[in-house]
Subunit: 203 residues, 3 copies
């Protein structure tokens, strides 16, 4: 799952950079940041050296995603909106949220810490990439995307706290994240703004 | 003071996100980033796991600030410019600058490190929030705001270096920060730009 | 070389902030971020407290660069495009890429980690400054700049892995970085975008 996520995230990030006509260095940076910056931020926050800088293997999947984005750019107008890309992206979201929740629980963070790290691990790379592209992170105003990681991370914390095994917690977290993301894409979910809430409150 | 600051900073940040019509997830993120990212950056720079991820208590005050911002949005056009909000914000600025100076001194940083960490602790969250809102941090070109934390941090360093007790240093730092901020709001202080200095030099 | 780099980077960053009419606090922050944020990010990623916060000496060179930028602003329209500034900047790029490669090798990072940290050390400060100026980092779409650090870092890793002495690796890294940068400025090198590659592939 993690591997699928790395390739999918790098492809999505690199495709955004291609649209902005960044050069190949910029395309590679935005792709790799999308795939790895969430995990690197997690590692920095729990006070350890990012895994991606210590191993050679993981980076290969990121580079594959970047290369796919450049290659597919010729064939598809929006490679990152293809159903296979959307599905891979949802799998990556679930894998990264689960990895974040596991690391945060292992270092003894609070319930808030577990949910925060799961969410940062899952969506931090994409948010960082949006900042490099000089825009607000889309997760802050659009779609129902980061919320899936919040739900997954919350379930992980609930299961480990009240029901026990880390294995079960990881399975529930991954299933809730990918399931809610699939539902969000299928039914076009989005969260309300304060303006929407205001209008509803006024009837 | 720290509690007042967390609520005030979260309220100010969340109000900015409401103006940009972010969804409720985005409002919560920008509010919590404003309240906690300065302290988290401080902790990462001095090589420890951010306090906000380890305890449950602190986050509650941030969430309260976000909830207040959404609630007050109906009643006030600019909840973050209300005198009570401005005063609470100044108190938070002083509390965070002092907390930063104390941590930096305890880990043995240089005088520059103490002033830098005091300033980052006090204004880093707001600057990070501005980046998420896709704008330059307002502290870099507007108002006399970060400079109050610089003054407070400098006083903390001077007192601990030349006069002694950490308690006295903390009191002086907090008083100088909140006092200079109150004066800046009252008298409309701002710093010159290079262009202003240039015109003055040319007479 | 490191000293020349700190002054040159601070001058370049501060000059950008002056053009945006930031106030003197903003000018100082953008200048110091350009000079020190790359090294600070390196230190945070390898899990140690940033050197710039622990010593007083280094900051002095950054402050000198900021002061030069404000002073030269009167005399020159584009102090950061003067040949001396361009040369000093290339020297700084080489010094910072080499420092990053040495630190990354010493803490046992992978080959990718060495190249990534060399590049982040060399261009991370400028990229961070561009984000503060509310623009995409120029290294992602323009010029042949970060690529010089990538080349230098790659050579460092190759020499230490296959040929031996760290001293030789450092010399080769610095020479390759500054040499490729000088060539890039002289001959106007730039990297292709995906669009360019696409047109070439289609003949």
């Amino acid at each position: 799952m993690n591997t699928v996520g790395l390739v999918a995230f790098a492809l999505v990030g690199a495709t955004k950079a291609i649209r902005e006509e960044f050069d190949v260095f910029g395309i590679a940076v935005v792709g790799l940041v999308t795939a790895f910056a969430g995990g690197a931020t997690r590692d920095v926050l729990v006070d350890r050296v990012p895994l991606a800088l210590r191993s050679f293997g993981e980076i290969g999947f990121g580079v594959l995603g970047v290369a796919l984005a450049v290659g597919l750019n010729v064939a598809f107008d929006s490679a990152d909106e293809h159903p296979i890309a959307l599905l891979s992206d949802a799998v990556g979201l679930a894998a990264f949220a689960t990895a974040g929740a596991i690391v945060a629980t292992n270092v003894g963070l609070s319930g808030f810490g577990v949910v925060a790290i799961a969410t940062i691990n899952a969506v931090g790379g994409g948010a960082f990439a949006d900042v490099l592209l000089d825009r607000s992170p889309f997760i802050l105003f659009d779609d129902f995307y980061a919320s899936c990681a919040v739900l997954g991370g919350t379930c992980y914390w609930l299961v480990t706290t009240f029901a026990g095994t880390p294995g079960a917690a990881a399975a529930v977290c991954a299933a809730v994240t990918v399931g809610s993301r699939a539902a969000a894409v299928t039914y076009g979910w989005s969260l309300p703004t304060a303006q929407t809430l205001d209008r509803r409150a006024r009837g």
